[in-house]
């Protein structure tokens, strides 16, 4: 066991010296030598681990929870680099273990890829599992969303008996896990209708069906995607009443969000410096876990207030006096719509740069561009001064915008990604805001260009 640990630590050390943030290799080597390494290290944590999984919001939720735990004065193991497969998580534990294999931390906060949950559950035996949502995302990777949900459902049955499931009540695909869960379930959800729509004609890809009987669900309220208030008239499945709920929300554009959350431990007014309604759900998941861990209200407030956006998820860049830029990863229609909504709320003159790649890490299928609401951009066409597209699928993006109702003359395609980024930055005039929306691998490319040009070097490191 120790040999495995030392081998892993050596690789981490070498990686660091070479300047790599390599995350999976040390874990892979450690596991090769001692397959039970992760179980051994994780088993020492007195308050156990919380696993956070789901399609969207894993990273953000884990970071918010980590900030709350830190504000409570507790120590933790957190795979903060976003390495959410089993090797990467093993690396995280190798990194915090002492030379004699002792893990001296209070709590584990683990963001876990959906497909990795079964293995992680059997090795780590988490005390809590948080499921944020199940959106169709990169279908070519998993085949079908249904398989992923079934995978998590099965894994839930192998959790230790005292484990608690923390589930999003507003996502029927997630809430479905509740009645089948052998242990205690805590639901979180949004009650206020200050946001969202009663319009039930909004289409969502196959996720508004009852997972129990297969019939379409009846909605009285939508927040976004398939998130909302629903019942199945056919079999009686319905949205459970959340024990932790948001009762008021105020969207403050770029400035972020203010909201009120009612919990069994009290009702708290809270604020986030990050825009995007979806962050309410991320905060809710983190708050609910904090309540379950009996962390104080003060820690929740301070943790969330001090929370900064993780890299690429609506990151604010300063490019000079009076020149603002936002950088936001887009990878599926739901997240993209939230970004578009934030962009539309921004009142001033703005420019837009959209970078679409279809490498394996982006998802080979870019069909989702047609599900995202780029039509909303047409409503703000005048303050939108230029739109530039680039990336391997930059032409698909230009085409999408043309069919979204944006004036074709306002759309430009720049085949060279580096030039596209450089020109977009050079174009911004004082008082304007540049929105940069890349897919995952395009985000890495944008990051490289920005660093080369000397903008906020390494701002993505946390």
């Amino acid at each position: 066991m120790l040999l495995a640990l030392w081998a892993g630590k050596t690789v981490i050390g070498v990686n660091r010296r070479l300047g790599y943030g390599g995350t999976s290799l040390p874990g892979a080597i450690g596991r090769r030598i001692a397959p039970k390494l992760l179980a051994h290290l994780a088993g020492q944590i007195p308050q156990g681990s919380t696993v956070i999984t789901g399609t969207n919001g894993k990273t953000t939720t884990a970071k918010m929870l980590a900030a709350i735990i830190a504000a409570a004065g507790l120590t933790q193991v957190h795979n903060h680099t976003g390495a959410n497969l089993v090797q990467g998580i093993t690396t995280t534990f190798i990194g915090v273990a002492g030379p004699l294999g002792k893990v001296d931390r209070d709590i584990g906060v683990l963001e876990v890829d959906e497909a990795t949950v079964p293995q992680l559950v059997s090795e780590v035996g988490p005390r809590n599992i948080v499921v944020t949502n199940f959106f169709p995302d990169q279908l070519d990777r998993f085949g079908e969303l249904g398989k992923t949900i079934a995978l998590i459902e099965k894994a839930c049955h192998r959790l230790p008996p005292q484990a608690v499931a923390i589930l999003n009540a507003d996502d029927p695909q997630v809430a479905f896990l509740g009645p089948q869960f052998p242990g205690r379930v805590v639901y979180y959800g949004v009650e206020t209708k200050a946001y969202g729509t009663p319009d039930t004609r909004q289409t969502a890809a196959g996720t508004r069906l009852c997972r129990i009987c297969g019939h379409p669900l009846n909605y009285t309220w939508f927040y976004y995607g398939q998130l909302g208030h629903y019942t199945c008239k056919h079999c009686g499945f319905h949205r459970p009443t959340p024990q932790v709920q948001v009762t008021a929300v105020e969207m403050k554009g770029d400035a972020g969000l203010a909201f009120t959350v009612a919990t069994p431990a009290g009702t708290w007014p809270l604020s986030l410096a990050t825009p995007g309604f979806y962050n309410i759900y991320n905060a809710l998941a983190a708050i609910t876990t904090a309540v379950r861990l009996q962390l104080p209200a003060r820690a929740v407030r301070e943790g969330l207030a001090g929370y900064r956006t993780s890299f690429g998820r609506m990151e604010r860049l300063t490019l000079g006096p009076d020149k603002k830029a936002f950088l936001a990863l887009i990878k599926n229609p739901t997240g993209c719509n939230e970004v578009i909504r934030t962009l539309v709320q921004n009142p001033g003159p703005k420019r837009l740069l959209i970078l679409i790649n279809d490498n394996a890490a982006d998802g080979r299928d870019i069909s989702w561009l047609w599900d995202a609401d780029f039509e909303a951009l047409a409503l703000i066409a005048p303050p939108l001064k230029t739109i530039v597209t680039t990336g391997l699928r930059g032409l698909d993006m230009a085409l999408r915008l043309a069919y979204g109702g944006l004036p074709p003359a306002g759309i430009t395609y720049q085949p060279d990604l580096t030039r596209a980024v450089t020109e977009a930055i050079n174009q911004i005039q004082p008082g304007e805001t540049l929105f940069i929306l890349p897919t995952y691998t395009a985000l890495l490319a944008v990051k490289a260009v920005l660093t080369k040009q000397g903008y906020s070097a390494n701002y993505w490191e946390e």
Binding site: T203, L209, H215, L395, A402, Y403
Partner: protein, 245 residues
């Protein structure tokens, strides 16, 4: 002012990434030419007057919803839709919708789920999902014409009688109907079935116009369409042909 009416079947059940792009494309291409395109939807239990329809779209889905849709199609819409296809109603059926319009879906245990039989075709499940970019030749759209798209399907579809149902296209890159015989999709009268899922029409404006022209000819005896610049359409189409073809 010419008006066309599109019926979108089972939008809540048969929908996958980007299907919506096809409807958006038909709407815009009509609007740019001063044609009004109205869209109505019909799902489980709802009957449709196909004599009032000029175009029908049926999307794809994961397999989960299929038995429900099979049952409903058989009961409430199927016969009328099949009759309308005989009357040359243009139909675009994608993925699961395409399979539904074949004769049957055969399970390994030899159980069969009957289809509408519009296409002389049957489908059976395959081992691996067939996934990836597709480039195919489509002579029906004109000499040297191509179709580009993305496929992601478990089913293998086989055309049974070439005299009744022709393939829509021949694959250059990709798997097509079954990964074996090089065919992609099916065409019978003005009904088209295909595995090119999601936003098929935006990057294949010739196919969009093929459907619109037939719909206009049927309703107004005149299928002429004003040409459009198709700048981004052509560039995006060509970029896929160049990269994957």
């Amino acid at each position: 002012m010419r008006t066309l009416h599109l019926v979108h079947l089972y939008p809540d059940l048969l929908t996958l990434d980007g299907d919506r792009g096809n409807i958006i494309t038909l709407c815009r291409r009509c609007a740019w030419r001063g044609i009004t395109l109205t869209v109505t939807t019909a799902s489980l239990g709802e009957t449709v007057d196909f004599t009032a329809a000029d175009l029908v779209f049926i999307g794809g889905s994961a397999d989960r919803e299929q038995p429900l849709v099979y049952a409903d199609l058989e009961k409430t819409k199927g016969p009328a839709l099949a009759a309308a296809v005989e009357e040359r109603l243009p139909v675009l059926a994608v993925g699961a919708g395409y399979q539904l319009l074949g004769r049957c879906y055969r399970f390994p245990d030899r159980k069969e789920l009957p289809g509408l039989g519009v296409f002389a075709a049957w489908t059976e499940p395959g081992e691996k999902r067939l996934t990836g970019n597709v480039v195919a030749t489509a002579p029906m759209l004109g000499e040297k014409s191509s179709l580009v798209g993305f496929e992601n399907h478990q089913g293998r579809t086989f055309l049974a009688e070439p005299s009744k149902t022709r393939p829509l296209a021949q694959v250059i890159t990709g798997h097509g109907n079954n990964g074996r015989d090089g065919t992609e999709g099916a065409i019978y009268r003005n009904a088209i079935g295909t595995y090119l899922q999601g936003p098929l029409l935006p990057k294949n404006p010739a196919l969009a116009d093929w459907l619109l022209a037939r719909a206009l000819k049927r309703r107004y005896q005149d299928g002429s369409l004003a040409p459009l610049p198709d700048k981004w359409e052509t560039l995006a189409h060509q970029s896929v042909v160049k990269r994957f073809g």
